[in-house]
């Protein structure tokens, strides 16, 4: 026991765990299978038990440096090697590297006669030998219940199995025991009640077919001493082995970004509080057929690529070629982005797989491509392949997943004509952050496209219905004209537009005329002012001249008086007139 236990630190404070390396399973189990203890993997035929077990060994050997023993009771080593080669597991190589040992235990009842007391020491010897030969830390018994078919003494078998599992625990190996599902209604997980012996961890696999769609599911029935996800998790088997989708365990813990990103349509951004969608929010564009959902999605994808962000476009209705051609017709050329590797189209018919497979495929694509923006066009197709509940559960998982990855997602949804206007898959409605509703307004014999923001969490968004056109340079939101019945669209809008143009022209002309009149008046006034000024100047000139004359006359008079005074010799020549007057006075009085 100590060998394995020393090898790694416990995954959490509780139970030490052995990571399986299987995509998603470690997340559900909180780190892996119980270290040094047996785990029962049960399920019906063909549900993937053996594969899960072998992947546990292979990943253990390759990723965690834990050699493993595969003891098979059903398939020979050669068959198994062949079977898992398609998943990229080369068992021969692992065996050569001493990372894997295989032992095929085969019991043919016809060849065996039971006579007296016996035990299963032979099995113990073989297991022990295999474990010691490579220093194994992991072991798989697939499917040990086969022993019940080969040997008839059940009481011996039960006793020996109990001893076996105790021995495995003592040995400290992490074991996976597979078991075939029992008959229904017996309350047993496996035919021979293996859960009685393996009580630490029980994983149940299920393979169901509903509506001709097969779905694989995994559930942790129990896991002693640890918390674990209790739901049924869909899983799939593809060329990389098993992927379990633990998305339901995500919950609502995602970070919220305050960053805003453009919708690719400036006037739509303006309607969304002026800045567009929130980063890592979920946008739903719903509308009737041909209402322009894909075009709005394409704008969004285009804008993302322009920002240099990777965009994953999941098309369920059109092929990527058709989509690109159609979008080119409204002036959006997506091809350069595809060539640059910024845009990745994944076009598939929704009906080719079950929901889980789609979910898994999307997961995988997102993991590989690492997009910042995802477009799903259209989610309605997915709803068609499962029940309504299933598909909404799946969408919830997807949306949660996108949010966790900080991906901004734009989903389009087709609304059929006879549903009420705002009815879409109700369950999605509460999940999305921004909901754009596209519709056709029928007015005066024509249908016109109208967009409005039904809701947009966390932003002051416009409540205005806006008409938009699909022009050869994309979606264009038109000016708003309100008529008696609401927003005017199409011809009605055009008519209103031209009337308004005419009235405004008239008003404009009137204003111009008035301005001209005023101008003239001012000019006339100014002219009069000039004339008056001239008159004044002339008068001033005249007055000045009179004053000058008067002054010179006065001067001459004075000079005459002075001259006279001198000639009479009564006075000396005086400088000033006044002192001269005073001086003349004094002598005159003196004399």
């Amino acid at each position: 026991m100590s060998k394995a236990a020393n090898h790694r630190k416990p995954a959490n404070r509780g139970l030490a765990k052995a990571p399986t390396g299987i995509q998603g399973l470690d997340e559900i189990t909180g780190g892996g299978l119980p270290l040094g203890r047996p785990t029962l993997v049960c399920g019906s035929a063909g549900c993937g038990k053996t594969l899960l077990a072998i992947e546990f060994l292979v990943r253990g050997a390759m990723q965690f440096d834990e050699p493993g023993v595969f003891m098979s009771f059903e398939e020979t080593a050669a068959e198994l090697t062949e079977n898992v080669r398609s998943l990229g597991f080369d068992l021969d190589e692992l065996i050569e590297q001493k990372k894997l040992a295989m032992d095929f235990v085969w019991i043919e009842r016809n060849e065996i006669e039971e006579n007296g007391e016996y035990d299963l020491e032979g099995l113990f010897v073989r297991l022990n030998y295999a474990i010691d030969s490579i220093g194994a830390k992991r072991i798989v018994l697939d499917t040990i219940e086969t022993l019940f078919g080969g040997l008839s003494n059940v009481s011996i078998l039960r006793g020996e199995l109990r001893r076996l599992f105790r021995w495995l625990k003592d040995k400290g190996v992490t074991a996976v025991i597979t078991g075939e599902s029992g008959e229904t209604g017996e309350g047993m997980l496996t035919r021979h009640g293996m859960e009685e012996y393996v009580s630490d961890c029980v994983i149940q696999l299920d393979h169901r077919v509903t509506d001709q769609m097969s779905t694989r599911r995994l559930r942790i029935v129990k896991y002693r001493g640890t918390t674990h996800g209790t739901n049924e998790y869909p899983f799939l088997i593809d060329e990389d082995g098993i992927s379990v989708l633990p998305v339901t365990s995500l919950g609502l813990q995602h970070e919220s970004s305050a960053e805003r990103i453009s919708s690719g349509i400036p006037r739509l951004d303006a309607m969304l509080g002026g800045e567009g969608y929130f980063r890592s929010s979920t946008v739903l564009v719903s509308g009737t057929a041909g209402s322009g959902k894909t075009s709005i999605a394409a704008h969004f994808a285009n804008a993302a690529c322009q920002r240099g962000e990777r965009c994953l476009y999941l098309a369920f209705e059109e092929s990527s070629g058709q989509l690109q051609r159609n979008m080119r017709s409204i002036g959006i050329d997506l091809e350069p982005w595809v060539k640059k590797g910024l845009l990745h189209f994944h076009a598939s018919r929704a009906s080719i797989y079950g929901l889980e497979m789609h979910l898994a495929t999307i997961h995988k694509l997102v993991r590989e491509f690492q997009p910042r923006v995802v477009v799903m066009d259209a989610i309605g197709c997915l709803a068609a392949i499962g029940t309504r509940r299933d598909s909404s559960v799946m969408l919830t998982r997807l949306i949660d997943f996108f949010k966790m990855q900080e991906i901004t997602a734009l989903l389009t949804n087709l609304r059929t004509g006879n549903e009420s206007l705002e009815q879409t898959n109700e369950d999605i409605a509460s999940l999305v952050d921004t909901w754009l509703l596209l519709r056709d307004l029928e007015l005066e014999g024509e249908r016109n496209r109208v967009i409005n923001v039904l809701k947009s969490r966390g932003m002051a968004h416009s409540n205005q219905l806006r008409e938009f056109l699909l022009t050869d340079h994309g979606v264009e939101l038109q000016d708003v004209y309100l008529g008696a019945e609401g927003v005017l669209t199409g011809s009605a809008r055009l008519a209103r537009e031209s009337t308004e143009k005419a009235t405004s022209l008239l008003r404009h002309q009137e204003v111009e005329a008035k301005q001209r009149e005023r101008e003239l008046k001012r000019e006339a006034l100014e002219a009069r002012i000039v004339v008056l000024q001239k008159e004044f100047e002339a008068e001033e000139e005249l007055a000045k001249r009179v004053i000058d004359q008067e002054q010179s006359r006065e001067e001459t008079n004075q000079q005459d008086r002075d001259r006279m005074g001198i000639s009479r010799q009564g006075d000396k020549v005086k400088r000033d007139v006044e002192p001269a007057v005073r001086s003349t006075k004094t002598p005159r009085s003196r004399t």
Partner: protein, 114 residues
């Protein structure tokens, strides 16, 4: 236990070989437990009576040679394997029921007598 009638069908074609062939028997044990000792004693006694001079018993102790267990598909201990004459037969247990051992080894059809 209830499959003895099945075993009788197997006995028919080999009965003619019994007189001439040498019997090659292998007894797998894991350590000298009372059960293995009993099994060996029971087998030895039976062979001396029914196959005098034309049998070989090889005892393989898996505690000494664990790698030999896989070759003969040994699960239970003790296991007696009849290598020759063919076809291969296995009897698990301490061989305490001589009658059943004889039937199992196809030394005799499964009918009362002897």
């Amino acid at each position: 236990m209830n499959n003895s009638s099945q075993l009788t069908e197997y006995t028919a074609p080999t009965e003619t070989d019994q007189e001439t062939e040498t019997w090659e028997l292998r007894l797998y044990i894991a350590g000298e437990t009372p059960r293995s000792v009993a099994a060996f004693a029971n087998l030895k006694k039976l062979c001396e009576i029914h196959l005098p001079g034309r049998y070989q018993i090889e005892v393989i102790d898996l505690m000494q040679n664990p790698q030999l267990a896989a070759g003969d598909q040994i699960v239970a201990i003790p296991t007696l394997v009849r290598k020759l004459p063919e076809p291969l037969r296995r009897i698990v247990g301490d061989l305490s029921n001589t009658e059943r051992t004889l039937v199992g080894l196809q030394l005799r059809p499964a009918k009362p007598g002897q």
